[in-house]
């Protein structure tokens, strides 16, 4: 898809009815929902995508979108979401981990058994490092358990960057100066590199969520962070990914999705678990018919 031929100066008329039609499709396909107050935001992005695809009308663009020609759904989602990742993103889920989830997890643990946490996709490492930092800073029992954190992604370049652990100011914008001072060291270009001990404590691996064979090497996780990736998949791939994730979790384990994603819309395999800080999904302990 050549995005260069488009631009914000290219505009077609989009009626309120067409915006509504678009929003209903977007919600059904991705779970993303926008209030009427976001009309300008929607119009702007729709306008950009219509221009970028060379469509001459909303109808033409909508038809292209529905058939996912040239992976337009991925382009559209990217235009509607914050693509950049940063430390402590969706902090409420990290808080949920230390205020609710880990307590439930350790109640089921045998003495000495490790707690296993998986970040997939982990991109350039901000999420798994955030999990580690958050645990060190916010979970009083952190020294009482062996905690294994695995970060996986399909993109080996991202994994290499994750292992190096070098970040710019934008990635660190949610961290306090104190945390940056204690866990990072300045490197060239105004960047910061995360503490070597933390880098060495996280296993970075390549994994494809919809490759069942590939996923068989990932088992027995207590908690999985799988945020903002399932919205990109078609129905068949989402089902497969959900089943793969189910197999990767221990019975009773939890999975955190992105804020616009709902496992209930993808698969009945998981149970909704509501905690004060977040809604997460749990692999049931046992089958109930």
């Amino acid at each position: 898809m050549d995005d260069s031929k488009g631009g914000s100066s290219f505009a077609v008329h989009i009626s309120p009815e067409q915006v509504q039609r678009f929003c209903e499709f977007l919600y059904r396909r991705t779970g993303m929902s926008f209030a009427e107050s976001k009309r300008y935001f929607i119009d702007r992005r729709l306008d950009d995508r219509i221009a970028a695809t060379g469509s001459s009308s909303f109808q033409e663009y909508f038809s292209l979108l529905r058939t996912d020609a040239d992976q337009e759904i991925e382009h559209l989602i990217n235009s509607f979401t914050v693509n950049e990742t940063y430390f402590y993103r969706e902090e409420h889920q990290l808080r949920c981990m230390t205020t609710s989830l880990l307590d439930a997890i350790v109640r089921q643990k045998k003495p000495g058994a490790p707690i296993r946490i998986w970040s997939i996709p982990c991109s350039t490492g901000e999420e798994p490092y955030s999990i580690a930092l958050w645990l060190m800073e916010n979970w009083p029992q952190v020294d009482s358990y062996n905690i294994e954190i695995v970060g996986s992604d399909i993109d080996t370049r991202a994994l290499k960057a994750a292992a190096e652990g070098i970040y710019g100011d934008r990635a660190l914008m949610r961290l306090s100066r104190d945390i940056i001072g204690r866990y990072f060291r300045p490197v060239t270009g105004g960047n910061h590199q995360i503490d070597e001990g933390l880098r060495n404590s996280i296993e970075f691996t390549r994994a494809n969520l919809i490759d069942t064979k590939d996923m068989t090497q990932y088992r027995d996780f207590d908690l999985i962070f799988c945020r903002n990736v399932l919205i990109y998949f078609d129905d068949a791939s989402r089902r497969l990914a959900a089943e793969n994730l189910y197999d990767c979790l221990r019975p009773g384990g939890y999975i955190c999705l992105g804020h616009s994603e709902s496992m209930s819309r993808i698969s009945p395999l998981f149970r909704v678990s509501r905690f004060p800080d977040a809604i997460v999904y749990q692999r049931p302990e046992a089958d109930h018919g």
Binding site: E17, V142, I147, E148, T212, Q217
Partner: protein, 201 residues
């Protein structure tokens, strides 16, 4: 340092499961077998037989997914009868599975939309939602023109509201006139027509 390096490769994967394992008395073994057979076309008969007797919903899901990933006519023929199930969750699982196969389901749409059971026709309208717009519009308009059950028409109109092309407008107008005494249908038609034409109703 309480954080220790994580390991991959935990409790085995079961990728070597055989079709015979679908008969296992153990649900986890059947689940693993169904997952291992995902996408294997020669497993359709075994999956079909296993699905027909499977009591555990998550194992049925895995069998459905295996059939979806095969995605051929044979696998669709296995799923179709579940549209007639008395169990709503089974019907829903079947419709979700078939919706994931918009291209492969196309040859089955005309018979489904002509089925003698209005519940099947109603469910089948939902399968058009993921189809190419022109073909979905043609199929749903043909249905609406001959359909006497208002709920089936309403279901078709709801799908057209999202996917319909302007070719649907004359059919929708006739539908509203034909069901003028059923107030919700003319209303649904007016919403669909405004969305399709891009004009306010």
């Amino acid at each position: 340092m309480p954080l220790i390096k994580g390991k991959t490769g935990g409790a085995g994967g079961g990728s070597d499961a055989q079709q015979g394992a679908l008969d296992s008395p153990d649900a986890d073994s059947r689940w693993t077998a169904a997952r291992a057979l995902t996408g294997q076309a020669d497993a359709v008969p075994a999956l079909a037989a296993a699905l027909s007797r499977e009591p555990i919903s998550r194992v049925r899901e895995a069998m459905m997914t295996a059939l979806i990933r095969i995605g051929n006519a044979a696998s669709i023929e296995v799923i179709l009868p579940y549209l007639r199930s008395q169990d709503a969750s089974v019907r829903a699982a079947a419709i979700e599975a078939l919706q994931a196969l918009p291209d492969a389901i196309a040859p089955f749409m005309t018979p489904l939309l002509n089925d003698g059971d209005s519940d099947v026709r109603l469910l089948a309208t939902e399968l058009a939602r993921n189809m190419e717009a022109a073909e979905a519009t043609r199929l749903l308009c043909e249905l609406i023109e001959r359909e006497h059950h208002p709920n089936v028409c309403a279901a078709a109109i709801d799908v057209l509201t999202e996917v319909g092309t302007p070719e649907a407008l004359p059919t929708l107008e006739r539908c509203a006139a034909r069901f003028a005494a059923t107030p919700f249908l003319p209303f649904a038609v007016s919403v669909a027509m405004s969305r399709i034409s891009g004009e306010e109703s």
